[in-house]
Symmetry: C2
Amino acid sequence: MTPDEFRTHGHALIDWITDYLEGIERYPVGSQVQPGEIRAMLPEHPPATAESFDAVMADMDRVIMPGITHWQHPEFFAYFPGNTGYAAILGDLAASGLGVQGMSWVTSPACTEVETLMMDWMQELLGLPEKFRSTSATGGGVIQGSASEATLASVLAARWRVTGGRINTIGDTTNLVAYATAQAHSSIEKGLRVAGIGTSQIRVVPHDGSFAMRVDELERMVAEDRARGLQPFWVCSSRGTTSSMAFDPTADIAHVARANGMWLHVDAAMSGIGALAPEMRWINDGVELADSYCTNPHKWMGVNFDCDLFYTSDRAALLGALSILPEYLRSQAAEAGAVIDYRDWQIPLGRRFRSLKLWFTIRTGGVTDAIDMMRRHVGLTQELASWVAADPRFEVIAPHPLNLLCVRLKEGDLETDAMIEKANASGRALFTRTVLDGAVACRVSIGGRTTERRHVEQAWALLQELA
Amino acid sequence: MTPDEFRTHGHALIDWITDYLEGIERYPVGSQVQPGEIRAMLPEHPPATAESFDAVMADMDRVIMPGITHWQHPEFFAYFPGNTGYAAILGDLAASGLGVQGMSWVTSPACTEVETLMMDWMQELLGLPEKFRSTSATGGGVIQGSASEATLASVLAARWRVTGGRINTIGDTTNLVAYATAQAHSSIEKGLRVAGIGTSQIRVVPHDGSFAMRVDELERMVAEDRARGLQPFWVCSSRGTTSSMAFDPTADIAHVARANGMWLHVDAAMSGIGALAPEMRWINDGVELADSYCTNPHKWMGVNFDCDLFYTSDRAALLGALSILPEYLRSQAAEAGAVIDYRDWQIPLGRRFRSLKLWFTIRTGGVTDAIDMMRRHVGLTQELASWVAADPRFEVIAPHPLNLLCVRLKEGDLETDAMIEKANASGRALFTRTVLDGAVACRVSIGGRTTERRHVEQAWALLQELA
């Protein structure tokens, strides 16, 4: 592709994306294809000769679009918000165009320094503790690809700290025990498993009627494990669980963690961004007592994937767990301690200039936009809850302080499942099911950038129609 | 940002990227800033009011560019190739614009099916064994973010297989032993460490004069470990090491691995893509005996980061190690076994539509372009080697079958280091140092998309001038 062709095709693609996002309501929300259908529309073998860019774009419409589940659709109420804002798309494009690696400061100083600054800006904007700031004595932040990676990084730092660094030489994890509720995200168990903490070393702490951790049970389990000679080392406080958006009592958990030398990780991946709005600061209550924390601009802030903010107050433990220095990665600046090498803050070596999408978004008014959007989502969720309460066939089965409502047909699980399946098959909206203490529920996650009152009204009408 | 503003700014940014890449030779290759200089040019606190997009772009030129080390510069001879091709930038932009999650088939079927097809296309294009194809009985491939993640995935699959899956419940790794040479990439030790394999469980297998693994030593070490009651479980065969581009004898290693029930991972991150050219197929010799393999289109193929191809012949082990199924991620299609859920093939849950950049690149002629480019790089490297041989002050200290030359001043380490430092400070080219069996060397990695004969001539003139 020549430079001039890139200009022409690039302009066309920008227009194609705009038309896609502005006309997205013409599509069914969830893809309606059957397994194998997309692949069958494409050649089984690579082309022998070059095709035109127009041919590729024609296939974007013909082949790709039927296989897309539209996360940007205003009737997308499934999983979690996954907003892609216009400014963030451009920030990401700039990163692709520059094509630099930010693994070390020296491999592109701007990539590191803008990222550090964005982490500090977000610390301020979210009202997070000063101890997470890069200018603090012992803490700092980094953009991870996902909350899964943030969780794993946190587990690895905790594992390093509790073994006094011995884990790096003697990889013995058999004595370590971790704690979370059954409501914690699946990436918690996965991250622990990766780090050599099997399910026999993971305690599922009971939750209360609001699906929040019971700290009395945590305390009891930790004491029992210690009595057995085991080493409790890591506990997760979820602030906004995926299933029902439950909030564990972080400050109380912190008390137990501190008394027992455990690392406290606060997982606010889905909801923590809400703290941009002053009245939602409570989401992160207790985070000042945490060893690490994460939240995702790529969920509720209009910054496209991948962009997870991971903070720790103990960067020495993180670096102890993750730094490795071969000859070909040495640099004077790093050895003098004058700079950050973010490769030592994450699992992979390579890294994109991911902070640009945050920088573009914040500077062009993205924070105000996100606050307005989140307030709208929370308001609509509460309105929907009142509509549900007025229909005797339905019930709400979990607290709903923010933008997720778990609704269910009183008739039963099978009926609720059937309703969800029919709604999703209609293409008019998309929901995810979950199971809360044995009861099937339809999760209504109101988080679209363009989701307005009428979309929620339509979704509710659809559920009523199918009930 | 309104849709119309996005169109306008998007077109401008496409032009900015084109102008940047086409005019890149005006910049010093390595950033010349001091630590803290970039951050000091930006406000310490986030803006209180929205700024214009033009203000952001002005800062891209004023603030960001001085802090960029230009990986796309034709005089960039450092680290490894990190090519960003025009078609790949557009593929990445399309992915950002669609803003879908590909964690499960059902979350966007096209995202999964195009990725599977691209992995199969690349298997064919690279001449990799059929057992890595998605249509094979037991194997398949996935795009990972980086070779570091591919290595870790491979270690986790091996750990699962050797323990018969018990690792997931009893996280005991203390008996496991892994093998690699000192020339293996740092991500090998890091991945092992993450998985609970400490340095006391990693054997550094001696290498020969060409920096390739000595299989007699591997065999001896494995036997010793077994005699001690330990469990050899994973060995890495590097095909193109980072330091000097050395090639471990994969087939011989496979013989030892097979006889001892070990997982064989072939790491061809930097060089494996060369196999697109028939005469470079030898790079992957022996891969038909491997349990897993990775190579990076984001290094030598013009596909921008992140895009690592990871193949395994034992997907059951990979899935055993990495799959977790909470209620909110269940789907009928997955439970029926009709589809792939790539979240079970990787560490993170979330994933971008990364295969689009590969699809755009391959369809618009990127394979032919890459082959032409790689042949040019290999030819230039051999030419440079002949120039170096003709200058009595220099010596080449490692085999150079492809596009990396390790040169050194006969005078000594300090002199070689001084030459590299001065060359990099000049901004006229950028090199990385390494140490090979105690001797400092200047790595000349010839891998730029636009690197021509004159650039190599200039780089050589610079080194001669500073010798």
